[in-house]
Amino acid sequence: MITANDLEKRYGRKRVLRGLSFELARGGLLLTTGPNGSGKTTLLRLVAGLVVPSRGTLAIDATRAELGYLGHEPMLYRNLTALENLDLFGRLYRVPDRRERAGMLLERFGLWEARGERVSAYSRGMMQRLAICRALLHDPALLVLDEPFTALDEEGAALLDRELRTAAGQRTVLLSSHDPERVSALATQRLALA
């Protein structure tokens, strides 16, 4: 599903990724690890199409409509409610029955009671849960998750674990984590960036 060949990314003179090659088959989970500044986020943003490679090729067998991305930031509007945020993104992704889908995800991630509150009133952990809901809203075939367990409490992390376990083998996942043990059992491949 993803084939990277001799991938390189530079920001000005700074080379963030160099000579990176890997393949990820459909349904696999690639766990990316590495210290701060090793290029994990850049790799995930490259796969999402938010940045373009400086050199090398990156072939992804998925359209933008099939990609779900969770970044460092929640990618939400703070002055909209949870439901309004999901409704807006549901429209843009042409999600059929988007209100039902949004409601189901909010319930699954324990945010249904807070659905009418503005995101600015959410705690960081609630915002991360909502960001996960946004990434899953259109039921993507390829899920790119950058440090998804950040800010989640034990309950939130368990909900995400369950989501990843349920989707194992059906959904292709590219994930970076500082806590690799948490998902190592699900990972079909590992990529250590230096």
Binding site: G49, L50, V51, R64, A65, P74, L88, R94, V119, M127
Partner: protein, 213 residues
């Protein structure tokens, strides 16, 4: 096409809703344009002709637009929402068009207050002058939405936006003032229409490259 317009509509309504809640932009624009017109009224020497007054109106409009545009992408910058929009499978130009329409809406509200105030304090406005304001406002909003997206992605956004926008606004000011004071206002309106068409197409086509690194 229906899907494109639906995306533009959803994104524009989102901007109006955010402004209704946060009230970050419009009150500042209204206060600025009214204050500028009142201060200019007292600063202008007695007996100064309409030509100078129209020039002052355009200073007020351009800087009011600049004020609005400097905040235009703030909701998208706050929590990385622009990445969310860029990743959505909609045409990326729809994001620019929606922001242009929202900015135009805010500017139109400011002008609804500013134009009667101008007529009261300075000189009457005819149809050509009002048409000039409308055409120039679209031009400023179209170019400004693209440039403010570029500025929002950079560190010195407060400096970069005026540096880029003000030179590109000069033709609009020339056209707007000309439409208000010249007996051949039609030529100026045509000029403004051409400017709008050319810069709207350029902004529409180039927005995609502005929002990807």
């Amino acid at each position: 096409m229906t899907g494109y317009l639906a995306d533009v509509s959803a994104l524009t309504r989102k901007d109006f809703r955010l402004e209704l809640r946060a009230k970050d932009t419009l009150p500042a624009m209204l206060l600025f344009v009214l204050s500028a017109l009142v201060v200019f009224h007292f600063a202008l020497p007695q007996g100064t002709g309409d030509d100078a007054a129209f020039g002052l109106l355009w200073i007020a409009i351009v800087f009011t637009a600049l004020l609005g545009l400097s905040r235009a992408w703030a909701p998208e910058s706050e929590a990385g929402a622009l990445d969310g929009l860029v990743l959505a499978p909609c045409d990326r130009s729809a994001i620019w068009l929606a922001k242009t329409l929202a900015t135009l809406g805010f500017l139109a509200v400011a002008e609804l207050v500013a134009l009667p105030a101008f007529a009261l304090l300075y000189a009457p406005l005819d149809g050509a002058a009002i048409a000039g304001v409308l055409l120039a406002s679209f031009g400023i909003s179209a170019v400004g939405s693209l440039l403010s997206a570029m500025a929002a992605a950079s560190r010195g956004r407060e400096v970069i936006l005026p540096l880029l926008l003000l030179p590109l606004s000069i033709p609009l000011v020339v056209g707007g003032v000309g439409a208000g004071i010249s007996p051949e206002s039609g030529k100026y309106l045509l000029f403004l229409g051409l400017y709008d068409a050319i810069f709207a197409i350029l902004s529409w086509a180039s927005f995609e490259y502005v929002v990807t690194e």
